[in-house]
Amino acid sequence: MMKKQNKILIANRGEIALRVIRACKELGIPCVAVYSKADQDSLHVKFADEAICIGEGRSAESYLNIKNVISAAIATGCNSIHPGYGFLAENEKFIELLERCGLTFIGPRSEVVRKFGDKALARRIAKEAGIPIVEGSEGIVRDLEEAKLVAARIGFPLMIKATAGGGGKGISVVRDCDELVKNFELTRMEAEANFGNPDVYLEKFIEKPRHIEIQFLADCFGNVVYFPERDCSVQRRNQKIIEESPSPFINEDLRRTLGEAAVRLVKATGYANAGTVEFIVDGEGRFYFLEVNARIQVEHPVTEELTGIDLVKEQIRIAYNDELSLKQEDIRIPGHALECRITAEDPLTFQPCPGPVKNLVLPGGPGVRIDTHLYNGYEVPPLYDSLLAKLVVFAPTRKEAIRKMRVALEQFIIDGVKNNIDILYLILHNTNFVRGIYDTGFMKSFMEILKGEL
């Protein structure tokens, strides 16, 4: 549709850079890869049409270096930038600068990113759009009296969370007023001891929470479509390990409710391009808004394999002012998709383990997809995240998808770099997982069982 010739700079690395390169090439758009000195032998550098070095290995000096990225785009004659995920993908300053420079950003506008980047504002927007949010104290709770007032408003059970905490640390769960009284000061003292800051806030505790997210696409003409939910409850310390779509827990009605909520949110903010709305769903099927990820996500292949839609190509089309090439009715659930994230980690300690890939054997067959930047002899650098590959399967039923994934994991060998393939394999045999009965507490209990057995 657009006659003007475009050129895209991919401001990322690893498997996602490769993913975007593939989309660009399929669309016939020349693409430029950027790389840090530590990544000069990386696959995305080899396969892009052009490549330009943008700094030293450290992310802050290269992939997060806004000046160098923009300068690279201009110097190589690009007129657009795809940020991938992470790095600068949701950096409003970066996006705003691109807008001022006249570069097309393949993602939403800076003001939209800013809105959803502000957690408190995002919750307000969700509330106004009629979406339930996880109630909380909306700020620091200074003393027990204030805590009691908040508890009266939001109800039990609730969490006392340290503001300076993170990654699941500094949290106490209390189920009634007595427990609140007992634990409030204690949590404050622990927070001071562990993080140097005693400030805490309160948040409703969701029992048996499942992490459910809705992928959506919106163009600049007001068209919005949502996709079947992805269940990402299998996670450790907020890092997702396995994702599947549709969720074994969500029924038709809830799916529609969540999807329509996502659409309301998108329309309320004038969001254009791809994005994901994250929800938390409790054991009773009540859902609460968590946040919006204003970018393409790591687990996007799950939705692609399930529905057959190329989300990255759609992103690019939307950015060039094309209308969405699909309507809501075009999105169906023809089966089940499952993804395993393969990471360079010690399987038991989860310590990252960079190093050279000595031998690589990839699985295959119908319904098996691998997104990876690995190749024989590639040296996995220690400077970046430990994601090695994404293994995605699609099958007509969930049971078959699980079987297919097991076979694929059996036939996936990454020799030379410690990885979590075996752990994934064991998870795929775990009774609860196979039954589809799991929530975000799954990995914790699974690891305990595993350690107990060893």
Partner: protein
């Protein structure tokens, strides 16, 4: 080690030559001017808005770019009322070219002279503020600068308010000869009278503060603050080197050097300057405490 990639690429290019359409040239983007600027010291590029918001300090090398008096007053005072703006320089020694030089600086900077004085409000405190202008004839002190500082000190004494002077100067103004040098004594005397009344004079030395200004009122502060990296010294480095025939340390006459040697009480970066001044004002609210 990665030759197989290059080999493949070479092969593909041969095949693609036959199939690929003629590559259309993408128009190279020209970004609008002024989005980025270069740090005058380290050459690093900064987004202009960030630079301005950071008080013209380079985020990479912390180089504090010189500010003109209006900018300095803007980032320090909540409000400001200028005084003595009507004072004009004359040419008492009939120094050739002096009036022309004055006129060209007036046109260039939009200021009448090398100092701006007045009463400002800082965080609720009424303060007598003067700022020297290094862009106007290198901030050199002639009769007008000396007179403004003196009158300000006298006014501050009368109203019993703190005195805050930001110095930036190449020294006494040559073209006014002894009149300039006399300003050193005059300003020092006015400050002494002010100081005898037990009032607070904060002197902030900015880049560069040298010569007769440094040797008079600038170094007479109760508290002497310097901006990072500022050149602070009386005589020129080269002159000193030639005179004593010795090599000087590399950071000679820098604010940090002066701090080390005890000539400066603290080095405060621009972002924290206002807060520091405010803190000092609060600590010295002498009028609140009575001595009896």
């Amino acid at each position: 080690m990665n030759n197989f990639f290059d080999d493949r690429k070479a092969k593909l290019e041969i095949y693609q030559k036959n199939y690929r359409r003629k590559k259309e040239e993408v128009e190279k983007l020209t970004i609008p001017d002024g989005i980025f600027i270069k740090c005058p010291h380290c050459g690093d590029m900064v987004v202009r808005d960030d630079y301005e918001r950071n008080f013209r300090v380079c985020p990479k090398c912390q180089y504090h770019e010189r500010l003109n008096p209006r900018e300095r007053i803007k980032i320090t005072c909540d409000s400001f009322e200028e005084l003595y703006a009507e004072l004009r320089s004359v040419n008492p020694l009939d120094f050739p070219g002096y009036p022309e030089k004055l006129e060209s600086y007036r046109t260039e900077t939009g200021e009448e002279e090398a100092a701006v004085a007045g009463i400002g409000m800082i965080g609720g405190f009424k303060v007598a503020v003067a700022v020297l202008n290094s862009f106007f004839m290198m901030g050199s002190m002639g009769s007008v600068v000396g007179e403004k500082i003196t009158r300000l000190a006298e006014r501050a004494l009368k109203e019993r308010i703190p005195l805050l002077i930001f110095s930036a100067s190449g020294g006494a103004r040559m073209q006014e000869g002894i009149f300039s040098l006399m300003q050193m004594a005059k300003t020092a005397a006015a400050i002494r009278k002010y100081s005898d009344a037990g009032l607070l004079y904060i002197s902030v030395l900015t880049n560069p503060t040298t010569g007769g200004v440094l040797a008079s009122f600038a170094f007479l502060g109760d508290i002497i603050i310097a901006e990072p990296g500022a050149l602070i010294g009386f005589a020129g480095k080269r002159v000193i080197q030639q005179t004593i025939k010795q090599d000087l340390p590399p950071n000679f006459q820098s604010a940090e050097f002066q701090l080390e040697k005890g000539f400066v009480d603290m080095v405060v970066c621009r972002a924290k300057m206002r807060d520091t001044i405010l803190k000092l004002l609060r600590l010295h609210e002498v009028e609140k405490w009575t001595r009896n």
